[in-house]
């Protein structure tokens, strides 16, 4: 197949396909930006000889303090998770139509490899262009934002660049990952030219994603003990270990929550089927049990945002508790608490942004599901099923799995934050102090007289469970689902037009 043919077939689709390509590129650009930002923070050089010396050239404490930079980079990396979830959802946009088109290409004699080639080309090129756009935005933004204030302090680390190798790896790696993922998603179409001809009843999902969640939680919980262990052994932990624990654990937990939604859909579907009295609930119950992964696909980005948001809420609770701790032991918090809480406001903003992105993904997925089934819906309306019943069925089938899935995501997110940060603790050790000023204290003769050793009592302030914030997040998520359902119903109206009944 010549590249021209490949390109022609890759762009042969409708406007939906164009939208998918653009969104794929867009999410690739967002992900690139987030990863590059994280790398930049990590690239800030430590002052030689003093691991704890502040990087004096920055205005912001998150960048100045070496101890905080890891966390900042981590938070930036975490932001890529909802973005990646969005990318996954966009990949589904127009997928049934594309699958049919590719099946037709297969029937025309294309080999599975050629069909995969078409999709990989589409996703890979879109991803690469997106990543390059992200890189351009990053480099441009770097120039634009390089504005030292009157004291010569920088608001952002615009004076350092991540190593060129790392940048190249990101810009080239993201499209490759996207292409491989899309090739995997396409297995079904390439396996048989007919796509899915006859559905056989499959076993329902098992609750194994619970294991992944457990794994993620364990990785986060292990973060501090592992660090302490290395400290006690007086060796530096390998540089890859902390990010692997955090990113790997975070990904495991997120995949667990998202995949677990499949099981939740299936289980709630069966439960609903047992108790459903009205046709709307019956339709929703059967749909949930028949295609439980629809829930995972639909809610992926939203759940990722929930996870992130709950983690942020946990972090905020931790900082509040830390403030409380400082207050109790009478230490000067030096405005640090406020600073952290201000930072948390920024993080919350990021959560809101992630939720908006997720709501977009939700609309995409739901409308996709409705248009894919428009023939059945049109036939039902023709036989006299009121549209309101179909609307209720769609609302049921969205909300029933969403409520428990959001609850799980919020819980897991909170537990992740708890795992890493635990409870702020002070004291629990002996302190030696000398009250008598420099000369007396440094003189070995008098030192002992003025020095006293005292036991500093251990103070632990367990952070509150940020119920209010979690409730707000959950309510926001469910509101997003409801709004999405409302938008979906608009499409249902068009989808049930009688034209859909015309043969073939």
């Amino acid at each position: 197949m010549r590249p021209a043919t490949l390109a022609r077939l890759a762009v042969a689709g409708t406007r939906t396909d164009t939208a998918r390509v653009v969104l794929t590129g867009f999410s690739a650009a967002l992900a690139t930006l987030a990863v590059l930002a994280a790398l930049t923070v990590l690239a800030i050089p430590e002052v030689p000889g003093d691991a704890w010396a502040q990087a004096e050239q920055y205005r912001n404490n998150l960048l100045r303090e070496p101890g905080l930079r890891g966390g900042t980079a981590f938070a930036l990396l975490l932001l890529t998770i909802p973005v990646l979830a969005l990318a996954g959802q966009c990949a589904r946009l127009g997928a049934p139509a594309r699958d049919r088109r590719l099946a037709a290409v297969r029937l025309a004699g294309a080999t599975p490899g050629q069909v995969t080639g078409i999709v990989v080309a589409e996703t890979g090129v879109a991803g690469l262009l997106g990543a390059l756009a992200g890189l351009a935005a990053y480099l441009g933004g770097r120039d634009l934002l390089h504005r030292p204030d009157e004291r010569g302090l920088l608001p952002l680390p615009t004076d350092v660049l991540p190593p060129a190798g790392a940048v190249a790896a990101v810009v080239l790696g993201l499209p490759v990952v996207a292409a491989v993922a899309s090739a995997l998603l396409l297995r079904r179409v390439t396996a048989t030219p007919f796509g899915v001809v006859r559905r056989v009843r499959r076993r329902g999902p098992r609750p194994w994603p619970g294991l992944l969640i457990g794994l993620g939680l364990a990785a986060f919980a292990a973060f501090r003990p592992v660090g302490l262990w290395f400290e006690r052994q007086q060796i530096e932990p390998p540089p890859w270990l902390p990010p692997v624990l955090l990113v790997g654990g975070g990904l495991a937990a997120m995949i667990g929550v998202v995949a677990g939604t499949g099981w939740i859909s299936y289980a709630t579907g069966r439960l609903l089927h047992r108790y459903a009295r009205r046709p709307a609930a019956l339709l929703a119950a059967r749909r949930l049990a028949a295609d439980p992964w629809a829930g995972s696909r639909t809610f992926a980005a939203l759940l990722a945002a929930m996870l992130f948001g709950a983690g942020a809420a946990g972090l905020r609770a931790y900082f509040t508790a830390q403030d409380e701790l400082y207050r109790r032991i009478g230490a000067e918090s030096a405005g640090g608490g406020d600073f952290y809480l201000d930072t948390m406001d920024l993080v919350d903003l990021a959560v809101v942004v992630a939720m908006v992105i997720a709501a977009g993904g939700l609309v995409v997925a739901l409308v996709e599901g409705i248009t894919a089934r428009r023939r059945t819906y049109a036939a039902l309306v023709a036989t006299g099923v009121p549209r309101a019943t179909l609307g209720r069925a769609i609302a049921w089938q969205s909300l029933v799995p969403a409520v428990p899935a959001v609850a799980v995501a919020l819980t897991v997110g909170l537990l992740l934050a708890r795992g890493v940060f635990g409870s702020p603790t002070a004291g629990g050790y002996t302190m030696t102090s000398c009250d008598a000023g420099g000369t007396l204290c440094t003189d070995p003769a008098t030192e002992a007289r003025y020095t006293r050793t005292e036991w500093v009592p251990r103070v632990i302030v367990p952070p509150d469970v940020p119920l209010e914030q979690l409730a707000l997040l959950g309510a926001g998520a469910l509101a997003a689902v409801l709004v999405t359902v409302a938008v979906g119903l608009l499409f249902l109206r068009a989808g049930t037009a009688v034209e859909e009944l015309r043969t073939t």
Partner: protein, 233 residues
């Protein structure tokens, strides 16, 4: 006695007229075939009669009442209670079992689940597909699916069944199994059937045949414009 009536029905999709003034009576318990070449407006007429589409002009009356002016909700209710609808394919809900698909209209009418299931099983039995009651449409043959759809159309014991090429996707024998049962049961129940088809052998199941051509009833059976044919004979 005439139950359903179309009077000078006109319907256009954009600039293309699909029906250009069709008048048709459906008597109680009558089986009537609407035939004609593809694109003649057969399906559009059926959709207008069944209250799925609203005609641009003309009237549809059901037992003396104009239904084309009714609200969508009222027409939905009518379709659910007095009418049954059967299409070529794809009308069963893929996730529901055969019995649940057949029970659906009863559930919509407020019947309890157990009672609805019993009725559904009875009708599946009458259509000769009791053995697939707990299978999903994807697990059945095309003929079985159409017989389930027929059971669903009949389960409310409607007054009229609208069937749009109900055997179009089936082989001869499977199609015959659908049609013979539909016609036999409709006669038993005194249900009228409006059967849209382009095949003479399917139209032969009806008591009467109405030929449409270019959106109008072709009384001449000539397949010519009136001007060329010299008017109806």
């Amino acid at each position: 006695m005439t139950e359903l009536q179309a009077r000078a029905v006109v319907k256009a999709y954009g600039p293309t007229p699909a029906l250009r003034g069709v008048t048709l009576d459906v008597a109680e318990g009558e089986i009537i075939a609407v035939t004609g070449p593809s694109g003649c407006g057969k399906s559009t007429l059926l959709h207008c009669l069944a209250g799925i589409l609203r005609p641009d002009a003309g009237e549809i009356t059901w037992r003396g009442q104009r239904i084309d002016t009714w609200s969508e909700a009222a027409r939905s209710r009518l379709r659910r209670t007095e009418f049954g609808v059967l299409f070529q394919f794809g009308q069963l809900v893929a996730e529901l079992t055969a019995a649940e698909n057949v029970a659906l209209p009863l559930l919509l009418a407020g019947t309890g689940r157990r009672e609805a299931r019993t009725a559904a099983l009875t009708w599946l039995e009458r259509l000769g597909v009791a053995e697939v009651a707990d299978a999903r449409p994807g697990e059945m043959s095309g003929g079985q699916q159409q017989r389930c759809a027929t059971a669903r159309a009949l389960v409310t014991e409607p007054r009229v069944i609208f069937a749009d090429e109900p055997t179009g996707a089936l082989d001869t024998l499977a199609g015959e199994q659908v049609l013979t049962r539909l016609v036999r049961l409709a006669r038993e129940q005194g249900t009228a059937v409006v059967l849209v088809t382009h095949e003479p052998r399917i139209a032969a199941y009806a008591d009467r045949e109405v030929v449409l051509r270019d959106g109008a009833v072709d009384h001449t059976g000539l397949g010519l414009d009136a001007s060329l044919a010299g008017g109806p004979r």
